[in-house]
Amino acid sequence: MEQKKVDKPKKVRTKRSLSTKLTPYAYTMPAIILFLVFTVYPMINMIRLSFYEWNGLTEEKFVGLQNYNYLFNLQVDFKIALQNTLVYTVSVVFFLLLFALIFAVWLQKDSKINAMVQRLMFFPHLCSMLAISTVFSWLMDEEGLFNAVLSFFDLPGLRWLNDSTTAMMSIVIIAVWKGMGYHALILLSSLKSIPTEIYEAAALDNTPPVRKFFRITIPLLSPQLFFMLINITLSSFKVFESIRVLTKGGPGKSTIVLVYYIYEYAQSNLKYGVAAAAGVVLLIFLAILTVIYFRLINRRVHYQ
């Protein structure tokens, strides 16, 4: 019986004219074309290019896996870039989530000041990274505001972006500062959507505040926290602007990250093949990360 029911619409479908079948594709064609030209083609071309040697002018020369050999065995700077990217990503994810959570909890109470703070905190999200980087390059100057504040408290000044030990930390500070308000707002809105009865039930269950936070608030925020975790990780892996403006990968190689490495190899060293190979590695990393996240963490996340 059920099979027949399923069959029926199929028959109707085959009778439909070709134009009816093509209509939906025609409607989505502009999007599909854009996607093919600007996403799929460059990706395929990048993968192809990673097996060639090319400086932009001469003939492309097939070299097999030599570019990858160059990345992983012949030079250390790719490994450093990889390491730096990892340090940057982990730090940004950790501190951004931590501060966003702290601010969201802090701003939970409805008051005029909190409403104002919320708006102010969102502001950095609207500014371009370029502008923010420029401002921070002044703030973090050795004669800048940050050091002035430090010296006011009789603390020794830092060399911030000019010291290989503090440069990465400085870049992380800027990223956290920029993203904090936006992520705090997301968390704030989901904090407010938690039914008050749940907290009242917890109060009746004699729940201590810390336990309430870790056993009820955090689990109920987990869908948003998970979403943010993916988003921040993926965007941190692709960090470029602030590095380009502030440190250009330096001092030394202390702030070279994956995308900056690709940029440098393509634009300055004119080794397109190596840059493409690095791009492929980045692509694989991001793909693996996404799959891992969705497979593993999704199971632990509570969705209402």
Binding site: P195, E197, A201, A203, L204, D205, N206, T207
Partner: protein, 355 residues
Amino acid sequence: MGQIELKNIGKTFGQTTVLENLDLTIKDGEFAVLVGASGCGKTTLLRVIAGIGPATSGELYIDGEEVSDLEPGKRGIAMVFQNYAIYPNMTVKGNIEFGLKNNKVPKAERERLIAEVAESVGLTEYLKRKPNQLSGGQRQRVALARAMVKKPKVFLMDEPLSNLDAKLRVQMRSELIELHKKLKTTFVYVTHDQTEAMSMADTIILMNKGVIQQQASPEVIYNDPNNIFTAQFIGTPPMNILKMSNGCYLGYRPEKVVLTAEENEVEAVYKKKVQIITREMLGSETLYKVRYEGEKEEANTFMVKSVEDTFGEDEHVWLNVALENLYFFDKGEMRIRENDNAEDYAACVECLKGE
């Protein structure tokens, strides 16, 4: 064990006063139902008792001990919420266990209590499930189990059945009555549904605009209402009320009316010729809407409930009510009883004969 005493309780939200100078005693082991229209303060009162919306003034005693300033979790109470408020991230077992863990109950004892409670509400095979895998009725049971496992002195319930479908509601209603019999603890149950109140309560506490209108058993509140509000709130359809020539009010219940074709078929103090406007045949009974003869079209209509289905629409019949089924209320809408105000009562009866 679980007597609740409220003295001079007041509760304000900003500028709005919801409760003022409220006194109430709920006896130990009683099934008390707080009933009233939405916004009457019944839930506010429950939350005052629970401590999740503490009173702004007054004193609250549970079991003879003042708890006005105690945290909700330390008052020896448990509450079942309208939307259950079970922790969505925990399993059924986790939900039941959470309060016990907070109260540092040892593991072996916890396991024993959970098994016992789960058995009694029929959740044993669902202990490992998450709330989103449960039906509405099962979630209700989780909320109930979570409350029961704490062995509280007082159970507070805020419209716990309103999210269930009609059939399940009736079933849960009798289960709650049984539960109360078994546990013998004090229940305070909030509802806006007077049928629920009538069927479950030992004592009904009827509220209106933050004021207790009457606190009495279902029989008393139905047969002997204190005022017009109570008389009209309890009973379906509500009591018929009409103003008399001396400014007082006369009331009679739709189900106490006898309709007759001829004037002198039955003995009755109150007789009126009426016209039947509509008739609703409900099976076991028939509901008539009638208008007094000689009144204009837009005049008040009255309801009559009859077990017999003898008359049809537009028929002209006699409406008869015996004296013991007539209620009189003064100008302030308060009841005039023969026992405590014989003079006014007699005056009303006299006035009635003149009409």
